[in-house]
C-alpha cells in the first residue's frame, strides 16, 4: 500500500476532526449567544413581550386568588 496515501488520509482525518471540533465549540457558543440575546428585551418582539406580560399577570391573579381562599 502506498505510504503517501496513508499520510494524506491521516492529514485529512486530523484536519477534519480539528475543524469539526472547532465548529462544535462555535455551535455551543451560538446556543449561548441565542440564550443571552433572547433574554434581552431589545431583541424580543412586542408580541412576545405582551405574551410574557399576560402570562405574568395570569400567575399573579392565580396567586392572589389562592391567598384569598387560604388566608393565614
Amino acid at each position: 500500500m502506498d505510504s503517501q496515501v496513508i499520510i494524506e488520509a491521516a492529514s485529512i482525518s486530523l484536519t477534519a476532526i480539528s475543524i469539526a471540533f472547532f465548529v462544535i465549540t462555535s455551535l455551543l457558543v451560538s446556543i449561548k449567544l441565542a440564550n443571552f440575546l433572547g433574554s434581552k428585551s431589545f431583541f424580543r418582539s412586542n408580541r412576545e413581550k405582551s405574551h410574557e406580560a399576560a402570562k405574568a399577570a395570569a400567575i399573579a391573579v392565580t396567586v392572589m386568588k389562592f391567598k384569598d381562599k387560604n388566608p393565614k
Binding site: 500500500m1 496515501v5 496513508i6 494524506e8 488520509a9 485529512i12 482525518s13 484536519t15 477534519a16 476532526i17 475543524i19 469539526a20 472547532f22 465548529v23 462544535i24 462555535s26 455551535l27 455551543l28 457558543v29 451560538s30 446556543i31 449561548k32 449567544l33 441565542a34 440564550n35 440575546l37 433572547g38 431583541f43 424580543r44 418582539s45 412576545e48
Partner: protein, 390 residues
Amino acid sequence: MPELINILENMGLTHISWQESVMISVGVLFVFLAIRKNVEPYELLPIGLGIIVGNLPLTGITLFSPSSDLAQDSGIIGVIFHYGLAHWNILPPLIFLGLGAMTDFGPLISNPKTLLLGAAAQIGIFIAFWAAIMSSLIPGFEGFSIAQSAVISIIGGADGPTTIFLSGRIAPELLGITAVVAYSYMALVAIIQPPIMKLLTTRNERLIRMKPAPEISKTKKIIFPMAAMLIIILIVPQSAPLIAMFMIGNIFKESGVVPRLTSTVSNELLNLVTTLLMITIGAQLAADKIFQLETTLILALGLMALVLGTVFGVLFAKLMNIFIREKSNKINPLIGSAGVSAVPMAARISHQVGQEEDSNNYLLPHAMAPNVAGVIGSAVVAGIFVSIIS
C-alpha cells in the same frame, strides 16, 4: 417479414439479461415493502419503481447526451440526473431547504449538551473512511481513492442529500450507487439500529426518563440558526449550499411572517424534489454497476459506518451520564443513536425502543436534538471533505 424481425430485435424481451432481471426483482421487492409493509414508503416506493424502469433494456431513459444534435437522445431520468445531481447538484440543497423549514431547534437550544451526541455519531464516518482507504489490501482489488473513500464513509451519516452532495462534488462516478445505498440505509434504520441499541444498553438505562425541555422563545429560535449559519459558513464555506439552505428554511419557519413560503418549501418543493431525486437514483442502480466487487464493498463499508455511528452515539451518551451527577439530568442513552442524521427516522427509532420498555416515556422531543445536530454534523463533515480533498 423484415419488419417483424426488426420489431422482435428491438423488443426489450430479447435483450434482457439475468442481471437486469435480478435488479427488477429487487425493485419489485422495494415496492412490495413500501406498499404492503409500509416500510419508509416515501423512499422505497419511488426508488423501487426507479430501479425497475432503469433496468428495462433499450429504453434510453437514463441516457444523457450533452453533445448530441438530437435533443431527443437524452432520456428524462438522464436529464434530471445530469442537471439535478451530477452537473449542478441543486437537488440536495433544495431538500435541505425543505428540511430546515420542518426542523425545530428548540430541543437542541434547551439541552445543548445533546449536540455532542450528534458529533459522536460522526466518528463512524472517520473509521469507515480509513476502512475504505485500507480496502486496497484486498487481493485483486485496486482500492478506493481518497475522494471515493470520503464519499463512501459519509453514507454512515445515513443522510441521502449530504451523500449525494459530496459525491457530486468529489467523486461523481460513485454518485448513483452511494446515493441509493445511503437512502436504502436511511429506510432501513428501523431494522439496523434497534438491536445495536438494545445490545449496548441495560433495561434501567432504557427506562431513564428525561426532564421535559423548557419552552424556548421565538427570538432564541431565530437567533440560533442565524448565528449558526454565519459561524459554520465562515469556518467551512464549502458547507454553504447545505447549511445555508437548511438555516434559511428554518428561519422562514421560525419567523412566522412568511407562512406561505414555509408551507411551499416544506411541502410542495420538498415533495417535488424528493420525487425526482428518488426515482432518479433508483434508476441509477443499473445491473452493470451493481454486480461488481466495488459495489459490494460500498454496501459493506456504508453499513459499517452507520453501525459505528449508532454505537458511538449510544456509548457517548453513556459516557456523558458518568459525568452527570444529578439523577434528573441523566440522558437516556437511546437518544444517542439519533445522532446519525436520518431525520426524523433515527429519532423515531429512539422513541419506539424507549416505549417498548415504558409506554409513557416520550423520548421523541429529546431525540430530535441529537438528530438535528447529526444533520448539521454530517453536512459540516461533507463541507470539510470538499474543502480539503477538492
